[in-house]
């Protein structure tokens, strides 16, 4: 099951990754489990654990319980500061 993950702004810089195409293992099926799986990659991924980091699935704001399915586009980013 492959999804695209995007990282923005300070989080993108902290992780050093802008976009990745990943194959999710079975059991990873929502935002919370995706985040845990990414955090398990190691210390470099800790910036993703901050409570202020938001998620979007297919370009809509998502919660921890939001479903992530094959082909989805998931994004992680800090609180927005436009305008």
């Amino acid at each position: 099951m492959s999804i695209t993950i995007l990282y923005f702004a300070g989080l993108r810089e902290a992780l050093g990754v802008e976009r990745e195409l990943v194959d999710m293992p079975s059991g990873v099926n929502d935002v919370a489990s995706l985040r845990s799986w990414l955090l398990a990659r190691g210390a470099a991924w800790q910036p993703l654990s901050a409570p202020r980091i938001r998620a979007a699935v297919n370009q809509s704001l998502a919660s921890d319980a939001s479903v992530v399915a094959d082909g989805d586009e998931v994004a992680f980013f800090p609180p927005v500061t436009g305008g």
Partner: protein, 151 residues
């Protein structure tokens, strides 16, 4: 006037006079309320600001916000322009213009769209200062402004 075509994310500057003319162009509007946001200069030590966004989601979010405003007030026209890329102090960042029959709905919708844009639309500001670059923090007052529309 289609709302969808009146949302723009662009690096280029915009002309407030032209935008207001376009909003009032149908001749039915009695009122146009606008907001223009700028890169603050002066007291701050900001040398420049770079605006990042999430292409696709930004446009979708702004369309949703405008749709919420249209569901709430009878509007004759809405225009949203948000610049991205590197901007200097004093430069325009954002334009929101709303045309209505009367001023009450134009003012309310313009402020509503700005309050939602500030808290929901995926834009991020990074400031360059003499001491290096820093990402701008979200302001609690923006969340508070949003809540007034949700009670």
């Amino acid at each position: 006037m289609s709302v969808e075509t009146n949302i723009a994310i662009q690096h280029e500057d915009f002309d407030v006079g032209i935008e207001v003319d376009a909003l009032s162009g149908t001749g039915v509007a009695g009122a146009v309320a606008t907001f223009v946001g700028f890169v603050r200069g002066g007291a701050d030590d900001v040398l420049a600001m770079t605006l990042e966004h999430y292409p696709g989601m930004t446009e979708r979010t702004l369309r949703d916000i405008v749709g919420l405003a249209q569901a709430r007030w009878f509007l004759l026209g809405v225009r949203v322009i948000h610049r991205v890329g590197r901007l200097l102090p004093g430069e325009r960042i954002v334009f929101v213009g709303v045309a209505g029959r009367h001023r009450g709905e134009a003012f309310a919708a313009c402020q509503f769209i700005m309050d939602y844009l500030k808290t929901q639309a995926p834009f991020w500001k990074k400031e360059e200062t003499a001491n290096g670059a820093r990402w701008v923090d979200a302001r609690d007052s923006d969340e508070a402004a949003l809540k007034q529309w949700q009670t």
